[in-house]
Symmetry: C2
């Protein structure tokens, strides 16, 4: 009765880490169990199969956005700096634990059909709203007219997840001392997302872009 309060959470956390690092097939149930202080068969008492564990790990990732997306999008309809709020909530979640980005990318590659359905069901309704907000911004002349809202959203998602997942490896296309830090790369992402989104204001105008989404 006085057991470790949430063995399950510990297993989920460790599974996220190991699945992200070595992939689902590359991880041994016994290793996963050892990392949380038990043997393989004992772990399978908490999650009936390895595949069930995979589903639980993925669900815990997407669940975060089921709560967060409506919250941030609602704030985006009343607050001044919607653009920064949304983009930072998105990037911050993955930046706080890059394994989330790597895990998601692996699932996209490993099980495209499964992920398609999950994205359509859980994220689809919200991205649609987002695209509509962008279209309204185009009608108002605040957002560049030569932009395809859906494509822009898709690209920001892919780039955010992709940069955070692969930065420590891909940044080696530059010598170590010239490679930008992750924060610099993400700042560049925010900059280019902003510039590619908003119609430039005549310089000297008071309003900052952050207020305009």
């Amino acid at each position: 009765m006085s057991e470790r309060p949430d063995v399950k959470s510990a297993i989920l956390e460790e599974a996220t880490r190991q699945f992200a690092a070595r992939g689902f097939e590359g991880v041994r149930v016994a290793d996963l169990a050892a990392a949380v202080g038990m043997r393989g068969p004992s772990l399978l008492h908490h999650f009936k199969t390895k595949e069930a564990l995979r589903a639980a790990v993925l669900a815990s990732l997407l669940d975060h956005w089921k709560d967060e997306l409506p919250r941030v999008l609602a704030a985006a309809q009343s607050s001044a700096d919607r653009f920064d709020g949304l983009l930072r909530a998105f990037l911050g979640f993955f930046e706080a634990n890059p394994d989330r980005a790597r895990l998601l990318l692996r699932e996209v590659l490993d099980r495209p059909m499964v992920i398609r359905e999950l994205l359509a069901a859980e994220i689809g309704p919200w991205t649609r709203i987002l695209a509509d907000i962008l279209r309204a911004g185009q009608a108002d002349g605040r957002i560049r007219p030569d932009l395809v809202p859906e494509a822009w959203v898709l690209q920001v998602i892919t780039t955010g997840v992709g940069v955070i997942a692969t930065h420590p490896t891909i940044s080696w296309v530059f010598p170590a001392c010239e490679a930008p830090a992750l924060e610099v790369s993400l700042a560049e992402l925010v900059r280019s997302a902003r510039v590619s989104l908003f119609v430039p204001r005549p310089s000297g105008s008071g309003a900052s872009h952050a207020e305009l989404l």
Copy 2:
């Protein structure tokens, strides 16, 4: 003597396809062999181990850029539309066979240390030159000063590979009829890369951005 001229190429092509789809560990040597008309042990006569085949597949990917990058960068120092040439050569290679992008992404996730070294050795020298070209453009006032050249290059690489690798899956964050086609997403990538790179010209000026990199 009158055998199939290049069994090896056939194996490499099929391996690219299958490694991209199911990952290195997810592919059985026997299946790979069956797809090119032989049994497992016979395939291992052409590539001593499965791991050797993996290395060969990866090398054939990177070899393309060892030839292509110098060529395109050289053209970029004499021709008018360097930006388009370079970006289209890059995107075209992966668009012609999205499995290349998926394979590369998997290798980045599966073997970060190996890929780091390969990128540093084979691609590093050229991206460095590219970053210097961008810095020269900043000195001339053609390229936005608030841009970190290395971060911009990194982002374009990550986004290009990421979008092409994941588009058929991630685009399902939109209902099927609203999801942009891959070509639309790539056009948006080119647009936003261009806009985020160049200092905007006073409207009415004759020169197009394409000439300016």
